[in-house]
């Protein structure tokens, strides 16, 4: 069990000594997840809102599909996106395999269903009473839609927090699409997988702690945001 202790000590050593390999992995992790989260929030919030707010044919069926996609295994996403991005694949010309944007594309597939499903749930939960109140106040349709979006902001924030957690910690997509190339696409999670396979368990624990610290920082800033809005 010594390696757990080692891990704590090494984690601080890595951060305090500004270990370049660790900082490169932190940067790769943040770039990939930042990109993925930006894209999936931009796409996911409007889609989730539409799915929760409006009634239309096949709504239930679409909801079930989105909920099912919450269970997509990351290794499977990695394989499917690899098939698209490989040189011989349909998107091979774009040269996205083994790049950070390539990883981000896979992570968008992972986080998009989370954003859509949780936004839709928040909108559905807020909808009924609010809708009636706003109508009785004489609001027009556009005002009702805008106010509903505003009222569910905390629900959307919760969706963002959940999706960020998944994206920051996944390893299957980063390994398959990124290729774990040192100084380029090695993220913290793929570095943990590598250190573990090398038998450097202490180093693996240290990197895990570094990732937790990043998650803590992200969540503290989001909690700050929640208080202010």
């Amino acid at each position: 069990m010594d390696f757990i202790q080692d891990g704590f000590i090494q984690a601080f050593a890595l951060l305090l000594n500004r270990d370049p390999a660790t900082y490169s992995a932190i940067s790769a992790t943040l770039r990939a997840s930042g990109l993925a989260m930006a894209a999936s929030l931009l796409l996911g919030i409007p889609l989730g809102y539409l799915l929760g707010y409006f009634d239309f044919r096949l709504k239930k069926q679409i909801r079930i599909i989105v909920d099912t996609l919450l269970s997509l295994p990351t290794v499977f996403i990695g394989l499917v996106i690899y098939a698209l991005l490989t040189r011989n694949g349909p998107l091979g010309e774009a040269g996205l395999l083994f790049t950070i944007p390539g990883i981000a594309i896979g992570q968008v597939i992972l986080s998009l269903p989370i954003i859509i499903a949780l936004t839709a749930t928040a909108v559905e939960a807020a909808d009924n009473k609010l809708h009636i109140t706003l109508m009785s106040l004489g609001a027009n349709r556009r005002q009702i839609a805008a106010s509903t979006l505003w009222e569910v902001r905390l629900g959307i924030l919760a969706a963002a927090v959940t999706a960020t957690g998944r994206v920051l910690t996944e390893v299957g997509i980063s390994l398959m699409i990124g290729g774990n190339i040192k100084w380029h696409t090695r993220t913290i999670t793929t570095a943990i997988a590598l250190e573990t396979s090398k038998g450097e368990f202490g180093m693996g624990i240290a990197l895990g702690l570094v990732l937790l610290l990043i998650a803590l920082t992200v969540n503290i800033s989001l909690a700050g945001l929640r208080r202010r809005i």
Binding site: L35, A38, G89, G92, T99, I181, L194, S197, K198, I229
Partner: protein, 288 residues
């Protein structure tokens, strides 16, 4: 009150716009990087060359000599060959001679060149319940089979797994897939050794990984080397540039430069001098 509400909304919208904007900037930055990466040679290799630190020791000398930047992806031999077949890498450094020859025969690679070898060893508990110590590999495997002692296999189509299956065949035995004593870990070499250690079973490993395992165990490894030195246990590594006729996008000239350099005097000397925990790991054997 009304003002505050408006202010909050603006703030909320701002946060989202900033997120979106930074996303766009990341994209732009990455695009320019991707263009720059076009000049880099991409190699697929096996975990053994990377985990032992050989490549980080060797490749800076290559870049210094030729000015060619190189990146590598270390993975199982099966996946490395697949990445070559799909034109995702320019060159391979792998160790599964028969699969490599097939790869070249199918037109996926050209000019396969042998570079160096290390060796495999059979390891097991020091008590050696199947009495394989000092035997030839074939006799040792037959002894494990008839004693029904646990044997842990990689089971992952890696070079080591391919070697193991060849050894069962050389011992005139069916691959014991169905036997309860034959366990497939589906993991890398070091995790597999750890599984074998927990189960007090035998396994086949490359020598380098065993040296790392032994040193991590600090003098009390639960598994020891029982069979080594048999000629069939030699593990040949080769460099294969991906065939430019199969993949028009590959940087064939650079791949060829790497192949020439690896079989040349400087790299061969460096490989021979490389030590892991004080022990030589790879023996250079490129044809001069």
């Amino acid at each position: 009150m009304e003002k505050k509400e408006v202010f909050r909304k603006i703030e909320f919208i701002l946060v989202f716009s900033i997120t979106a904007l930074s996303g766009a900037i990341f994209f732009a930055a990455q695009d320019s990087k991707a263009a720059e990466e076009g000049a880099t040679l991409l190699m697929a290799t096996t975990t053994s060359t990377d985990n032992t630190g050989l490549l980080e020791y060797l490749m800076p000398a290559f870049t210094e000599k030729t000015g060619i930047d190189i990146k590598w992806i270390s993975t199982g031999t099966g996946k490395a060959l697949k990445l070559g077949e799909n034109c995702d890498v320019d060159v391979l450094l792998v160790h599964a001679p028969q699969a490599e020859i097939d790869f070249v025969d199918k037109g996926f690679g050209i000019d396969r060149r042998e570079i160096m070898y290390n060796d495999f060893v059979l390891i097991g508990p020091p008590e050696d319940p199947a009495h394989i110590k000092g035997k030839k590999v074939s006799e040792a495997l037959q002894a494990i089979g008839s004693s029904s002692n646990v044997f842990v296999s990689r089971g992952d189509e890696s070079g080591t797994h391919k070697m193991e299956r060849t050894l069962w065949k050389l011992a005139d035995m069916q691959i014991p897939e169905q036997e309860t004593w034959y366990r497939q870990s589906g993991q890398g070499m070091l995790p597999t050794i750890n599984v074998a250690g927990e189960l007090q079973g035998y396994t086949l490993t490359d020598h380098g990984t065993y040296i790392k395992y032994e040193s991590a165990a600090e003098g009390k490894p639960s598994l020891v080397i029982l069979v080594e030195g048999d000629a069939v246990l030699l593990n040949q590594y080769s460099v294969i540039p991906v065939n430019p006729k199969h993949c028009s996008n590959v940087k064939h000239e650079k791949a060829q430069t790497l192949s020439n350099w690896m079989s040349g005097e400087e790299a061969q000397r460096l490989i021979g001098e490389f030590k892991l925990l004080g022990k030589q790991l790879f023996t250079p054997n490129a044809a001069r």
